[in-house]
């Protein structure tokens, strides 16, 4: 059940590589684990995302953006035939100040899917400090299904 096909893996890689522009490419995310049970993604430290002059404290907004992105990936992996998804709502709790220059690790999964809606939850911590979560989030997404996935559309450079 947790194994995903080679075809899907290739699609995932394509999807992330296709995002040559935009926030996701700017975050330089690296997929560490991917299965229908959930995904684990690494974001390298980036001084652009800090609020202080010393550049050691991340702004909460980037953690929110990271959760939103990784939920999207988790849904794409877990849900068969998803064509488009739009975030309906998002809740994030900032559990600790994000004070470090370590890489960030995010784990997220889709814990329930229906034809129209996906429900997600996820956690963020600094690499090596899984016991000290810095943020936790949950979200719901509106889904559409179809032959052409949005990632196919990205590859072809057309709108889905």
């Amino acid at each position: 059940m947790s194994d995903i096909t080679q075809k899907k893996r290739e699609q995932i890689a394509q999807m992330w590589n296709a995002r040559g522009k935009g926030l996701i490419s700017h975050m330089e995310l690296e997929i560490e684990e991917v299965s229908t049970e959930g995904v684990k993604v690494r974001m390298p430290f980036n001084p652009d995302f800090c609020v202080d002059r010393e550049q050691t404290l991340l702004h909460g907004g980037i953690l929110t953006a990271l959760l939103d992105s990784v939920f999207g990936l988790a849904n794409f992996v877990a849900i068969e035939g998803v064509s488009t998804m739009a975030t309906l709502d998002l809740r994030v709790d900032y559990l600790r100040p994000a004070h470090s220059r370590a890489d960030i690790i995010v784990r997220a999964h889709c814990f329930r899917q229906t034809r129209h809606i996906a429900f997600n939850s996820g956690s963020i911590w600094f690499d090596g400090h899984e016991d000290a979560e810095i943020a936790r989030g949950s979200a719901s997404f509106a889904l559409t299904h179809g032959e052409t996935s949005m990632f196919e559309a990205i590859r072809k450079g057309k709108a889905s």
Binding site: G22, I24, V51, H59, G61, T64, L88, I154, K158
Partner: protein, 133 residues
């Protein structure tokens, strides 16, 4: 706190430069900003929609400024947020207006709305909590 000083402080925050916004109005418990569209803000590269996380980030930034316009000294600490996404945000400027619904000794609640063409057609609405101690 005058707008010029606030915007000078905004320009010193790396992440605020990444967002690229300007505070346009500021009075007691209200703040409004305009964000300039950048390709690094894109979430959906096919449609060139803003990333939801960038919209939430702008709303969090302006909410914090509404609570503490002198954020350069001691910024309000974000506790949590909820955002409702109502419409996709397309290429172009994005506006956000924050209204502090309650400011106590320790906690503040801030309601934020963001829009593009008209305030009556909001892109997203958010509720943000901050710790003031």
């Amino acid at each position: 706190m005058d707008l010029q000083t606030v915007n000078a402080n905004v320009s010193r925050v790396p992440f605020f430069r990444f967002l690229n916004f300007e505070v346009q109005s500021l009075d007691n418990l209200h703040a409004a900003a305009e964000m300039t569209f950048e390709s690094r803000h894109i979430g959906n590269p096919v449609m060139e929609y803003y990333h939801g996380g960038i919209i939430a980030s702008l709303m969090e930034a302006i909410a914090a400024i509404a609570v503490r316009p002198d954020f350069a000294e001691a910024p309000a600490k974000p506790i949590n947020l909820t955002v409702d996404y109502l419409r996709p945000a397309v290429k172009g400027p994005l506006y956000a207006c924050a209204n502090v619904t309650r400011k106590g000794k320790r906690i503040a609640s801030v309601s934020v709305i963001s829009w593009q063409t008209a305030r009556e057609k909001p892109i997203a609405e958010g509720l943000y909590h901050f710790l003031l101690v």
